[in-house]
Symmetry: C2
């Protein structure tokens, strides 16, 4: 039983842990106590060897001849991913997308709570979305400090995205999820990931042109 002397977890593995987590949740609901790497692989859409290697980075949580205890594995993964904690989230930019994100009930409830909506437009400030009131950008720093915001989502137009990122970083936010179609630079101490619709569509377009030489459904993406 590895415990403290745990190896560094590869980025590719980190990116798959949430998928395993979701699959295990489903297994826990419908089914039973233990699950084999093969079955888990099927639910997660990967192959069994990869599942075993990934899980082995967390420690030896399986039992040979039997499989993995679903509840125990769920617990270990959620601890590893920090899902046992509460992560207050702020959304900056409450346009179409920001509003949809604010109303989105798909974060798995677990941990990620949207506690602030901010926008630069005075027309929007004061309006309510869900049960939150939109606040002005100027109050970003104080809001981040008071509500202990860990994660910032940027849903602004591209031209102001870098500016907003800088504000978030200055306010102490160290994890950013960027939805704006722009390349942002942040200090190395800040983690940033991006979700970019236009890029995804263009990649699909590339392979659509070349049917036949198209690779299969993409592998899980990298971590950051």
């Amino acid at each position: 039983m590895a415990d403290t002397a745990r190896r560094r977890i590869p980025e590719a593995t980190v990116a798959r842990l949430p998928v395993y987590y979701r699959a295990l949740l489903e297994a826990a609901e419908h089914e039973v106590g233990t699950i084999s790497s093969e079955r888990l692989a099927e639910l997660a859409g990967v192959n069994a060897a990869k599942v075993r290697k990934d899980l082995s980075y967390l420690g030896s949580y399986g039992t040979r001849g039997v499989g993995y205890d679903v509840d125990y594995l769920l617990h270990e993964i959620s601890r590893e991913l920090g899902l046992t904690r509460d992560w207050p989230v702020a959304i900056v930019g409450i346009g179409n997308l920001g509003r949809a994100l604010a109303n989105y009930r798909g974060f798995g409830a677990r941990g990620f709570r949207i506690v602030a909506l901010l926008d630069a437009d005075d027309e929007l400030v004061g309006k309510e979305v869900g049960d939150l009131e939109i606040e002005p950008i100027a109050s970003l720093a104080s809001v981040v400090a008071e509500r202990k915001i860990a994660i910032g989502m940027i849903a602004t137009p591209a031209p102001v995205a870098q500016e907003v990122a800088d504000l978030l970083v200055d306010a102490g936010v160290r994890s950013i999820l960027n939805f704006a179609p722009a390349v942002l630079t942040v200090p190395k101490s800040v983690s940033m990931r991006k979700v970019d619709l236009a890029i995804e569509l263009q990649i699909l377009s590339f392979y659509q042109l070349r049917r036949g030489s198209a690779p299969a459904t993409r592998p899980a993406e990298r971590a950051g």
Copy 2:
């Protein structure tokens, strides 16, 4: 000048081409005729060697001692990505997210046109979003055929996402962008990419727990 005997373009490169494209568009607006790999790398948030290697897969479009002709490179990349064509897109599932996607003006105008909105909810069918009317799922096959839909976006709840994917595939759609938090399986002949908010947040959470051992902002994601 390489032409027909062009090498296979690696997935990682394909995923970066849209980023270069966007950076070049910006350069073309503000600036001038040619751009060095170093400058382009800066705008795209990668390093210069990678830019050169990526572009070399498209052919020898640079001039030593000078750099790349911005307009020419834009043209070549857009041709490679299929941005010179028109790609009709259908969105299935017009909830929060679907509506936001329908109204989203960030696809770069270029090529991707949303031409159909579909939902299983009779309450929604017939309503208008933007200038499109929501249609019933039952008409998916005919809509795809008539409007020559190439790309389907799935923005339904997770439990029905696989079902919708199957319908899209049966209707002849060969590129799918999945926003539902679910693992979908499609035939190898179909390209699928996913955008998964919950997973992104959980990855950020992982690294937030481990400040110090955190890798920098993620590399561009893989293609599919």
